[in-house]
């Protein structure tokens, strides 16, 4: 026996230890693999020995090799052997090897259960320590189940603080693997929150925080305990965890937010630890603290300090957090635009990219030009292709955001060489065509600048658009002959094929125009010269390798030759040539084709020629987008066509529309929650070669536009002021549209050319204007308006007309209180019911209010009510207090410390004729039933210093909890198939309106979106703020409309259907 030991240790002396191995590997750089394979052979020999020291040494080396990427799974059993050594030295190595090499599928793990149990209960705390560490790495569901009890014993009876701490932490892993253990263990875990040892306490906080992040609901009851910890603890690690936990809890219990805001702001003010500050700021941003604008401002201030810091890390995080604030409080971020723009100069690319992201969200009508101008400067400077590409993409995104919603001056946008879709713009908005043509002609003339150093396909794509615009709208060209000449330069042949094709085609169009102008002259030689020019230049294109160019060029060449012959005989041909390209292009609505009736006896589905094969028929698709308008293939109405085919066609059509400039895309104003990724890849401009100067002589520079635009705005502002005075008078007479001239300064900027973004289905102009307004406000506020109503104080809508007539007289009387009912909808009920209240103060001057209830997307239990107060009398109103009698279900959120019956002070006073908006947050528990809240507004009239009171009712319909959410038909089908939804249906009789009006009405009044429409049947979708899905199937036949509806909440569905019914019963 003794001899064996001696022999073992002698063996050991000759063995390589870890150090030798490392050294060896470093010395065999060239043949590392070979060296290691011999080492592994040695290790295998060592593992066969009985000596545990040799084995441990071998396992240690294996651990190192495992890190280098070698497979050591074959030694798993040997690792277990070393783990079970009684000596700490070897045990430690064994556990280390196990924690590095074992994973859930390692089968020998099940052999370790007893060993681990023994080590956990070992009197030696170090044995326990390594066992816990190892377990944390390779715990499997089986191990968790078998060892849960042992760990629990350690937690509650462990005498050693350190062991207790570890075992608390390990519990989390056990819970994850074996969730059944959570319930019995939880009370003990909770006890540990108040453990005298701060380490154990913080471990317990850690575990509960992580658990709560996964399922916050169950941990709400611990909130008071954590609140106490938060206000008493000074350990930043613990504080960060607690704050994170509260971040997860607040969405469930909004009152918590109110309570937290104070300690959080205190921490933000006082802490010197950046990590804690950052955590607080993040929680405030993410939490539902919409009522306290002050805290957001504080956050933005602190973030500004972070961004201004010289530390790149803080700068980056500051920008990151800013972008989160931007989503909820864009205004407060926008004021720091200067700072963000500065960050574009930072040497760190990731910071620049963050800043770019922020800028994208900050763009408004006012600052678009300025921002794009700055960005263009950066494009010139930018090094590195990825960043430059990103810059360009962002500029394009910024410009095209929401269908060019922010572009007030299209002239400016066309003059930007990278602006996307110039054809799209110029077709859609004919007002600027003349201008665009002039711009593009200059561009073509200077094409050599762009093409000069263009090995890659630089910005020549813009030429494609330019050529087409010049050809199509050639009548606006100042000097068509010059442009024609420019288009036929030999240099053009170096452009990519598809651009050449457009050049050739449009040269022909231009040729027609030129002929027309020249034939008017008596001298026929000029016309012949022009033909000669064509004949001279075209053969170059006839030889083109590109088939399309070749074909077009040869066709046109033949045509021109023929024309020349006629010209020589003095025949006037211009009219006929022009006729080839006649017809003005006008914007076409996406669904216009549907309205064209299919002529009798025409079967659109019948093949004209049987297609040889599927693939070839694809190729027959007309490639030339810019050829004359050809009859578009109407969508087949065959019902037999299977779903897949339909979906495929739909997709193809969408794609086509997206690429086709003739279509105005559907307006984004229909409250899309997210936008489809803009088809960046379809935007013609992909890259700009840096050596190409982006300034093309003759093009007005963008700064000129900025100046022009500013002047224009100033003028407008001056005019507006004049108008406003008038308006104010008008307004006093109570005529509608208060919301249009609200405090929203964004609305004050009128576009250079009025461009209405109109969806085809909108039945009434009035609705359209409202829609646009919604979409603007969306950008600033993630909250989705779910209802827009008018606050009817006293007189029902029946009196509306009469009252309007009376208005003038009443104004003169002035003493009489006027209440005005805006009736934007004919529906939404509730109006009649409100009649009975407020009869007391007939003779008092009163503010008129308009209100708007918005569901809060981020919080299923919050509703924001925006009330516009307008003072319609001629005395000054002050000390307004808004109060609502809370119901069990809905409560007005009041500041901390105020009683449940206290009113909220309206934070402004109202001079005569002025209106202002205040927001009130309500918490709503259940949204399945509509309800009305009674309230009063008290105020003091300054002249008479009398206290006045006005009663009102707030009507929360179920509709107002719905949020328009787009839904794709496949997701919709899945939803219906899931079987979780309960059905209900309703029939409407005597509805006398076109089907699309009907749909539009449901969409508009009840916040649905159309998923799919086939003939007289449509599916619609909406979602409530608490995530209920509401699906409708609307069918019409004659005057009867049947609506089959499904929803996961039957009561809600019933009420929504009732409301829909009411909408239609009133029209």
């Amino acid at each position: 026996m003794a001899l064996k030991i001696v022999k073992g240790s002698i063996d050991r002396m000759f063995d390589k230890n870890l150090q030798d191995l490392v050294r060896g590997i470093r010395n065999h750089k060239e043949d590392e693999a070979k060296y290691i394979s011999t080492c592994i052979d040695e290790i295998k020999q060592e593992l066969k020995q009985d000596n545990i020291a040799v084995k441990a040494n071998a396992v240690c080396k294996l651990t190192y090799l495992q890190m280098l990427g070698y497979d050591v799974s074959w030694a798993a059993f040997n690792i277990v052997e070393v783990m079970s050594s009684s000596k700490f030295t070897y045990k430690r190595i064994g556990y280390l090897a196990a924690s590095q090499c074992f994973h859930e599928s390692t089968d020998v793990i099940m052999l370790t259960t007893n060993q681990i149990r023994k080590d956990l209960s070992s009197p030696n705390q170090y044995d326990t320590g390594v066992a816990l560490t190892g377990l944390s790495c390779f715990v499997t569901p089986d191990l968790a189940r078998d060892l849960a009890n042992d760990i629990m014993t350690l937690v509650s009876h462990g005498d050693c603080v350190k062991r207790k701490r570890c075992s608390v932490l390990i519990m989390y892993k056990v819970f994850l693997k074996y969730p059944e253990s959570l319930r019995p263990a939880f009370p003990r875990l909770k006890e540990k929150l108040e453990d005298p040892d701060p380490g154990v306490q913080s471990a317990a906080v850690n575990v509960i925080c992580e658990l709560a992040r996964r399922n916050p609901k169950n941990y709400l009851s611990l909130a008071p305990l954590f609140f106490k910890l938060m206000t008493s603890s000074t350990n930043n690690w613990v504080l960060i965890k607690i704050i994170k936990l509260f971040g997860a809890l607040t969405p469930l219990e909004p009152r918590l937010g109110k309570k937290l805001i104070e300690p959080l702001t205190n921490l933000i003010h006082s802490t010197s630890a950046m990590s804690l500050l950052y955590e607080c700021v993040n929680t405030v941003i993410a939490g539902q603290y919409c009522s306290s604008v002050g805290s957001v401002v504080l956050c933005v201030q602190k973030l500004r300090i972070l961004i201004e810091d010289s530390d790149q890390n803080l700068k980056y995080l500051g920008l990151l957090a800013m972008s989160k604030i931007l989503k909820t409080h864009p205004k407060s971020v926008q004021s720091h635009k200067d700072l963000i723009l500065q960050c574009l100069d930072d040497k760190d690319e990731s910071i620049r990219l963050r800043a770019l992201d922020l800028l994208y969200g900050m763009v408004s009508k006012k600052n678009l030009m300025e921002i794009v101008k700055k960005l263009m400067l950066h494009v010139d400077k930018a090094e590195g292709t990825t960043y430059r590409d990103e810059l360009l993409t962002k500029i394009i995104d910024i410009c095209s955001q929401s269908n060019y919603q922010y572009i007030t001056n299209f002239e400016w946008s066309v003059s930007q060489p990278v602006t996307p879709h110039p054809p799209g713009i110029s077709v859609s908005w004919w007002t600027i065509r003349v201008f665009a043509v002039a711009q593009m002609a200059t561009l073509l003339d200077n094409a050599h600048l762009l093409t000069g150093s263009m090995q890659r396909n630089g910005i020549c794509e813009v030429l494609y658009a330019a050529a087409w615009i010049c050809g199509e709208f050639s009548e606006h060209l100042e000097n068509p002959l010059q442009t024609l000449e420019a288009m036929l330069r030999p240099k053009v042949a170096t452009l990519p094929g598809h651009i050449q094709a457009v050049y050739v085609q449009n040269a022909a169009k231009l040729f027609a125009t030129v002929l027309k102008s020249q034939e008017g002259n008596t001298d026929s030689t000029t016309a012949q010269e022009t033909s000669q020019l064509m004949i001279d230049r075209l053969p170059l294109f006839v030889q083109s390798a590109n088939l399309e160019v070749q074909e077009r060029a040869s066709c046109i060449l033949q045509l021109v030759k023929y024309i020349q012959k006629l010209q020589q005989k003095d025949v006037e041909v211009a009219e006929e040539v022009i006729a080839l390209f006649a017809g003005e292009l006008n914007p076409v609505a996406p669904k216009a084709q549907k309205k064209v009736p299919v002529p009798e006896g025409l079967d659109l589905d019948a093949w004209i020629n049987e297609p040889p094969s599927e693939s070839e028929s694809e190729d027959e698709q007309p490639k030339a987008i810019f050829a004359k308008e050809e009859p578009k293939h109407s969508r087949p109405r065959h019902t037999e066509v299977d779903e897949k085919e339909l979906a495929r066609r739909r997709e193809a059509r969408k794609q086509e529309q997206a690429n086709n400039p003739f279509y105005i895309k559907a307006s984004p104003s229909s409250q899309k929650v997210y936008q489809d990724a803009p088809g960046v890849e379809h935007i013609p401009v992909v890259q700009i070669d840096l050596s190409v100067p982006l300034k093309v002589p003759g093009l007005p520079m963008s700064d000129q536009y900025v100046k022009l635009e500013e002047e224009r705005r100033q003028k407008e502002r001056a005019e507006k002021k004049k108008k406003e005075k008038k308006k104010r008078k008008e307004k006093r007479s109570g005529r509608g549209k208060k919301h249009d001239s609200g405090p929203e300064s964004e609305e004050d900027i009128t576009p250079a050319h009025m461009v209405d973004i109109v969806t085809e289905e909108m039945p009434e102009v009035r609705c359209v204007s409202l829609q646009i307004q919604f979409s603007t406000s969306r950008i600033f506020n993630e909250l989705s308006p779910s209802s827009f109503w008018v606050f009817n104080e006293k007189k029902s809508s029946k009196h509306k007309k009469k009252k309007q007539k009376k208005e003038k007289e009443e104004k003169e009387k002035k003493k009489k209180k006027k209440k005005h009912h805006h009736h934007h909808h004919h529906s939404d009920g509730g109006g009649e019911e409100s009649v009975q209240n407020g009869t007391v103060e007939e003779e008092e001057p009163l503010p008129v209010s308009v209100y708007d209830i918005q569901g809060n997307l981020q919080d299923g239990s919050q509703v924001v009510v925006s009330v516009i107060f307008e003072n319609k009398c001629d005395s000054f109103l002050k000390s307004m207090e808004f109060n609502v009698l809370d119901s069990l279900n809905s409560k007005l959120q009041r500041p901390e410390g105020s009683g449940p019956h206290d009113g909220l002070t309206v934070p402004f006073q109202l001079p005569p004729g002025v209106s202002n908006e205040a927001r009130f947050v309500f918490t709503v528990q259940s949204i399945v039933m509509p309800q009305k809240l009674k309230g009063t507004l008290t105020f003091i009239v300054k002249d008479s210093s009398t206290h006045e009171k006005l009663d009102f009712k707030l009507h929360f319909t179920c509709t107002s909890y719905l949020i328009t959410t787009p839904c794709y038909s496949d997701a919709f089908a899945k939803l219906l198939e899931s079987g979780d939804l309960k059905g209900s249906s309703v029939r409407l009789e005597g509805v006398n309106m076109p089907f699309h009006h009907l749909l539009a009405r449901i969409c508009f009044h009840h916040h649905f979106s159309v998923v799919e429409r086939i003939d007289s049947c449509a599916s619609m979708y909406s979602r409530s703020i608490q995530g209920h899905h509401v699906c409708l199937l609307v069918k019409t036949s004659g005057q009867t409309v049947s609506i089959d509806a499904k929803c996961d909440e039957p009561t809600l569905l019933g009420n929504v259907l009732d409301e829909i019914k009411q909408t239609f019963s009133q029209c």
């Binding site: 170090y126 320590g129 994170k244 790149q312």
Partner: protein
């Protein structure tokens, strides 16, 4: 209740705050790896390769954070070694940076102005320190003194046994 409530859960289903920690040299050689999420060797290798490339490609003046897949990567370079941690989306980058710094300080104290070679030749010691400091990706002991004390005691235990054995 509704379909949507199930959905975010799968996002939340991940483990403790730190997913893994990697130490690698400027040449891209891995010096230490600690995984707090169960992954197969193949995945680990793939992630390591990708991350090492990404981090080494960054310029020295760039900030310490980057977004990678759905994780946030926090890294810092000390002399020739990169310390690199992966955390989840909601986690605090700055505290992770602090953890890295703590660990470096611990190594420094233990080895006495640590260098890359110390970690190469005593890689198991570096692991022991890390395990003493972090458990399952969570800081278990925030006091440097206590961590070092625990390591020293364990080492002592090891040596006592060694001596006893060699007698």
């Amino acid at each position: 209740m509704s379909l949507t409530t199930h959905f975010p859960l799968c996002f939340l289903f991940s483990l403790f705050q730190m997913q893994f920690m990697l130490l690698f040299s400027r040449q891209g050689k891995l010096r230490l790896q600690k995984w707090y999420v169960p992954l197969s060797d193949k995945e680990k290798k793939k992630i390591t390769r990708e991350l090492v490339q990404t981090v080494l490609a960054r310029k020295p003046k760039m900030c310490s954070f980057l977004e990678w897949r759905d994780l946030k990567i926090v890294y810092k370079r000390y002399a020739s070694l990169y310390f690199c941690c992966a955390i989840e989306d909601q986690d605090n980058e700055l505290i992770t940076l602090e953890i890295i710094h703590r660990y470096v300080e611990l190594l420094d104290k233990y080895f006495g102005s640590v260098c890359e070679l110390d970690i190469i030749f005593n890689f198991e010691k570096a692991y022991f320190i890390l395990d003493e400091f972090l458990l399952g990706g969570e800081a278990q002991e925030t006091s440097k003194k206590n961590v070092l004390k625990a390591i020293e005691q364990a080492d002592l235990l090891q040596e006592v046994r060694h001596r006893m054995k060699s007698k």
